[in-house]
Symmetry: D2
């Protein structure tokens, strides 16, 4: 695979924009290897993902964002980001006591499925240090006091770690602690959570018990970006599994684990591939 | 297929009950062709479905319920119903303007998929009379005034029709009118509704618009028995379909129709087969 | 909805093609409302679907194909088709004795779900004439003799009907007769069949019995374009449903019917929307 | 959970058998906590799973099988096995180079999801020794020579290991070597394989490449017991995932991995729970 530049953009939908952007790439000798777009007609917004080979492209890679900004931002009211396929994102994982999502993430990482680096794992418990050690990844524990008296201090130190490690996004792999506004604001639509229900059904605590009480015939899991409102951020991926009256809360928890790890990993895959745009608290996910 | 008796029962779970019931059937020369049971351990309740051939059974069919009542009700605090496979249930269908569920029900009926009789279709609109005529089924229209001034009278006449036609259960095939407590009380857990969302997500009106607003990646449909609380009765069947950011409320409505008709028909099938027990606002559904 | 032109094309993948085509539309004042493309990297082939509003477009609609041909065909080795959203395709339905797919197609047609015309239904049996009559669509029966002595003559008359009715594509809605090479050749990748298995498993006759014998835990249905080789044409859509050891061939047939009608209707929807391209015996299906 | 005895049986379907067996348990003061049965009407065979608490049961655990044999085997032509919930099965895992299934199995084992012991991991390659070491499980490597000259010797040593470790069943977690008849015969319906296709589609090598070539819209995975015929043993579990024309053989392999590990683990779960009976090359799986 030759290194590529990836452009993710959105702007008001206007005639000519697709032509202009593709012409800009082609005129500068970029070989386009991926183009996909979507127009939200209700809001008249265009979303686009373009990927082209850097080899032979006339604009040096450290000037690409500047050029796009100069040429298009004012003209088309463009919002955009440029990424490079040979600069992998850096992912921090937050965990508590349950290991299934963590193992799933690390097994993929170890098998080389993802173009990603994992500089650190953060937890509020010691329980999973052994798993981190198995995979040779630094494990940091900060305990929040029951009265939350040290929570501000803890999050300050966590954010310092994330900055020091140049983390580009965070994965909450069944992290059982609510993040403060500050941490969320520092990583807008860059913190991926897995909620163990088919949102918006069963928001909040103990969703499998809620599902059992309601007598649903299908349970689900939802990965979403974290926002200030609990379990209400943009949904990235969902999946479900069929259950029956024979299931107990305990069997739902076991069946749900398989959903959780798959749904979380699919979301992480899309994020690593830079295929997600967010808008109006929803996601546009390119194929 | 030889005629069978079907016994659906539930009672407090107690040692010996399964043996006693099966022994009762066998001792009276009933050939058991189906036995399934389920114990809700949390509530220590046993649910059971037994089916045996009437041919050669020593107790006459009109005495079976009486015998079971005498022998078991007091001893095991039994709740039960006896049905006969050669006495098909009689199903009334309530519709409004949308035809997809109605066509699906009637096409199955016409093809002989179900052991059921359909004596009448009831509506609050004239729109689907043509469909009823196509299939030769009487179609009754009662319009409820916008101020609901005649609603009590309308439901009284509807209930008279249901009684006159000896209707055993009612199917609301996208019937866009809320039933009164009286009608619901007259058919407890015998009115099947199809709600066009994955309940308990998106209760109430316009669920596809709600799903679109929330940006979910999967939509669903739910069939349930109607109770006094809106969209909160025992769930019989649910299914889902994957959607994407490209879907509009309009495309969700179209995709949802396929779900609605399949999910409703699966619930109706189970009800006709007498395979559903309800308890604590949940269903036990035998395979 | 304003009338649009739809361009479906494929060609060897070459730098600049996307820019050139979109520039052609934009330069001639066409407002692009849909663009999607896909590159098969193994074979270096580009597939593209473009849709733009005819209003204000400088090239008259009856000249569009000619212009595209002149400008692009030689230069890019283009294969393409142009359709207009206000010229609905004309669909013939072939049936035998089973009604479930036919009812499903006609109920959608009647409800106005599809931008399509249905000038005729063709059968080798009288059984479903009643259904065609219900919906007021002409029903033609040609019986093929057991020794196939009149098969050539029958197909000749059928093809005359299709030509006379200006049929653009054919749907085999559980049509239990193998088409001859001539009829298939006259409608290349324009005859949609529904096969009642998850192809390529269980090719040929009685697939549900084959599935039962093999003890699979999931059954499927497959819609595909008909080619000279039985059940081997380009697959358009597939879906599955979970079964268990309790299922009999008869219950598989009933469960399969729901799959068959949904899978067939999804394929027909995509075909009517002109969103399918075929290549190397596979389909590219735009979203 | 109190210790239980589990009885899995099959026999010709005959009147009275269910009553007799449950009466035998109840008369001997066994508290039945699970009963499920299934009758294959085509072959007139009854399958049954019974579980009762050992506490208070009048027959000592080491005599239970003998009593059942004496009382029922001749009378009902019974085939049966008795297991005890406090005697966990011992599972050997065979692997080659791919780690995803192995990690999934070991992560569940480590998290205590399963009532199982894993005394050894066997491989034909050194690659996954590191994973076995992470979890502290002995790892044995036997390399088969390219000319298979030492294959008989290798399998002899493997079987000695299995016997020495008292292994009750074997899981082939993407083990890329065909077992000989001897090893298969030593563990009849006790070797679980995961095949990376929706069997019987795409038997044999490189099923994802086969699926890509055929252009299917859904791929699957199948877990089954190994028999003498390749990929043709009794199917335990299958699942599928939707794909599109955009998928390449490489992306199918990645998507397939998620299926493989889930489908294999579901099969292993059912086997560990002693909920599977086999008959006529099919499985009966209790819920």
């Amino acid at each position: 695979m030759k290194p590529t530049a990836i452009l993710l953009l959105n702007c008001p939908d206007r005639q000519g924009i697709i032509t202009d952007i593709t012409k800009f790439i082609t005129d500068n000798r970029g070989n386009i290897v991926y183009i996909d777009q979507y127009v939200d007609k209700d809001n008249a917004v265009l979303f686009m993902r373009l990927e082209w080979e850097l080899e032979g492209f006339l604009i040096p890679r450290d000037k690409i964002a500047e050029y796009i900004d100069t040429i298009f931002t004012a003209r088309y009211e463009l919002s955009f980001n440029v990424y490079f396929s040979d600069v992998p994102p850096r992912m921090a994982i937050f965990v508590s006591k349950q290991s299934h999502c963590l193992y799933d993430l690390l097994a993929r990482y170890k098998a080389g499925e993802w173009n990603v680096e994992i500089p650190c794992i953060v937890s509020n418990h010691e329980d999973l240090r052994e798993v981190a050690d198995q995979f040779g990844i630094p494990y940091y524990v900060w305990s929040v006091a029951p009265d939350h008296s040290n929570k501000a201090q803890v999050e300050k130190e966590e954010m310092e770690l994330l900055r020091r490690e140049n983390v580009s996004f965070v994965v909450l792999a069944r992290y059982m602690q609510i993040l403060s506004e500050d941490l969320i604001a520092a990583y807008p639509h860059k913190i991926i959570n897995i909620h163990h229900s088919f949102l918006p059904a069963f928001v909040g605590a103990k969703p499998y018990h809620q599902a059992y009480e309601r007598g649903v015939k299908i349970i689900g899991a939802t990965s979403h970006y974290v926002t200030g409102e609990l379990d209400a951020g943009p949904i990235i991926e969902q999946d479900v599994v069929r259950i029956s009256h024979k299931d107990t809360p305990q069997s739902l928890i076991l069946k749900g684990r398989d959903l959780e790890k798959i749904v979380l990993s699919r979301a992480v895959t899309k994020h690593i591939e830079r295929k997600i745009l967010t808008y109006h608290n929803k996601t546009v996910i390119f194929g």
